[in-house]
Amino acid sequence: MSIAKDLNRLEEIVRKLEGEDVELDAALALFEEGVSRLRAAREHLEAAEVKVQTVLEEAGGDLRLSDLDG
């Protein structure tokens, strides 16, 4: 799941929770989902180092990705 999707979904969840027409049950489920998306997004942001890859086209036309300096 990409961080963009997590953030968009979080926005959506918060807007729903801030409205008043969500049933309590649904609100709790939304909250639960929001917490897990927050956690996923934070972990994503904490990635230590940018991953640099190079791509090569092999004789058969397939692509091969490999880490640069690796």
């Binding site: 990409s2 961080i3 963009a4 953030l7 979080l10 926005e11 969840i13 918060v14 729903k16 929770l17 801030e18 008043e20 969500v22 309590l24 049950d25 609100a27 709790l28 909250f31 639960e32 929001g34 917490v35 927050l38 997004a41 934070r42 994503h44 942001l45 904490e46 990635a47 230590a48 180092e49 940018v50 991953k51 640099v52 890859q53 190079t54 791509v55 086209e57 692509l63 990705l65 640069l68």
Partner: protein, 385 residues
């Protein structure tokens, strides 16, 4: 040492200068005063030394200047021009002290005819691409705000790649950069760039594509003005940023790309988000998430309390379950402190049967109850109604 002119002295005195003093003073004057200049003239008497250095004269109708071009510069100038060829040279005036000679130290040389031909070709391609709508503003796609996979089409040997990696590493280290190596100048650069740009379309997950190189002179950027490269760039399926690293000269890829960056570093900044900014955004969302749930559960609790008389055991159990769940969820997030009401100094009075005491009528004079606080509960007694 300053130059001093003593026109009054007619005989040699203590003021006599050595030749070295004179040439070094003139050198300082000339080299301090004049920045590198573009000069137009005809090449005469060009000699290529075994070291690769070029020595030649540059002349117009009435004057001539001695020039030298060190091998590391002459290497990039192609074949030595024939006698009498008109050229533009970029050079810094200087003094060669050992011979007391004024000379131009040349770093670039372009035949004037080549400029004319290159200019005509540029205009032709520009007009073709314009006619086909490749520069249309309506074609421009927005750059995604939070790209996590960026392709970089450039030379793996060039400074542009290092700049991009540095900037992305600082701003958005959770990103994946996929480098597609391509020659960016000289023979084969057009072919290599076209191939690389087509390859980008086949790499899974790419969200933005940067194409570019570090700064260079006009002829070094010619691949970025080629029709084939421009068309391949227009065919890239994700938004593109052109960064040819030349602030003053716009290349045609700059016009075709969805966004133009003045340098590769600037392109990297445009391609990825700033981690600090997104962290702030997340903190804000966390607070609103907690606030949203707090409001929602309060509302539900109030509604249930109003109809408490008609509640059956099953409903009470359901409410307890939901409260349990809310407590558990609230405990998961330290950041969501608004839920930790007791920590903020509130206390909850609880009757002997475990029910929360909410109305004056529930406090009989002298009756014992317990006060639940942040870290446990304490015994209490109603003093008077």
């Amino acid at each position: 040492m300053a130059l001093s002119f003593q026109f009054g002295s007619l005989t040699p005195t203590d003021e006599v200068w050595s030749v070295s003093q004179l040439t070094s003073a003139v050198k300082r004057l000339v080299e301090g005063e004049l920045v590198p200049l573009w000069i137009r003239g005809e090449v005469v008497g060009l000699k290529v030394w075994s070291s690769g250095h070029w020595y030649f004269g540059l002349r117009d109708r009435s004057s001539q200047v001695r020039c030298c071009m060190w091998s590391r510069y002459s290497q990039t100038a192609g074949e030595p021009p024939k006698e009498g060829t008109e050229v533009f040279v970029l050079g810094k005036p200087g003094i060669y002290e050992a011979k007391g000679e004024f000379q131009l130290n040349v770093t670039r040389m372009i035949p004037t005819a080549a400029i004319g031909a290159a200019q005509r070709e540029l205009e032709r391609v520009r007009e073709l691409l314009r006619r086909d709508g490749l520069f249309d503003q309506a074609r421009k796609r927005p750059i995604p705000a939070l790209a996590s996979s960026v392709a970089v089409v450039t030379s793996t040997a060039g400074a542009a790649l290092r700049d991009v990696i540095t900037v992305v590493g600082k701003r958005w280290p959770c990103c994946r950069l996929v480098v597609v190596n391509a020659r960016v100048q000289g023979d084969g650069a057009v072919h290599a760039l076209v191939r690389a740009l087509r390859l980008v379309n086949r790499i899974a997950g790419i969200e933005v594509c940067i194409v570019g190189r570090g700064g260079g002179g006009r002829e070094d950027l010619s691949a970025f003005n080629s029709e084939a490269v421009c068309r391949a760039l227009a065919a890239v399926r994700v938004p593109t940023i052109s960064a040819v690293g030349h602030e003053t000269d716009i290349s045609l890829t700059d016009l075709v790309a969805d966004l133009r960056a003045p340098t590769p570093s600037a392109a990297a900044e445009m391609a990825v988000a700033d981690r600090r900014e997104v962290s702030r955004q997340l903190a804000d969302l966390a607070a609103r998430l907690a606030g949203g749930l707090g409001g929602r559960t309060r509302l539900a609790a109030e509604r249930l309390a109003r109809t408490a008389d008609r509640l059956h055991g099953s409903v009470e159990a359901a409410l307890r379950r939901e409260r349990h769940r809310a407590d558990r969820l609230a405990g998961q997030l330290d950041a969501l402190s608004p839920l930790r009401i007791l920590d903020r100094g509130y206390a909850v009075p609880v009757g002997p049967d475990g029910h929360v005491l909410k109305r004056r009528a529930e406090f009989a004079p002298g009756a014992p109850f317990r006060l639940r606080v942040a870290d446990g509960d304490v015994a209490a007694r109603v003093e008077s109604p």
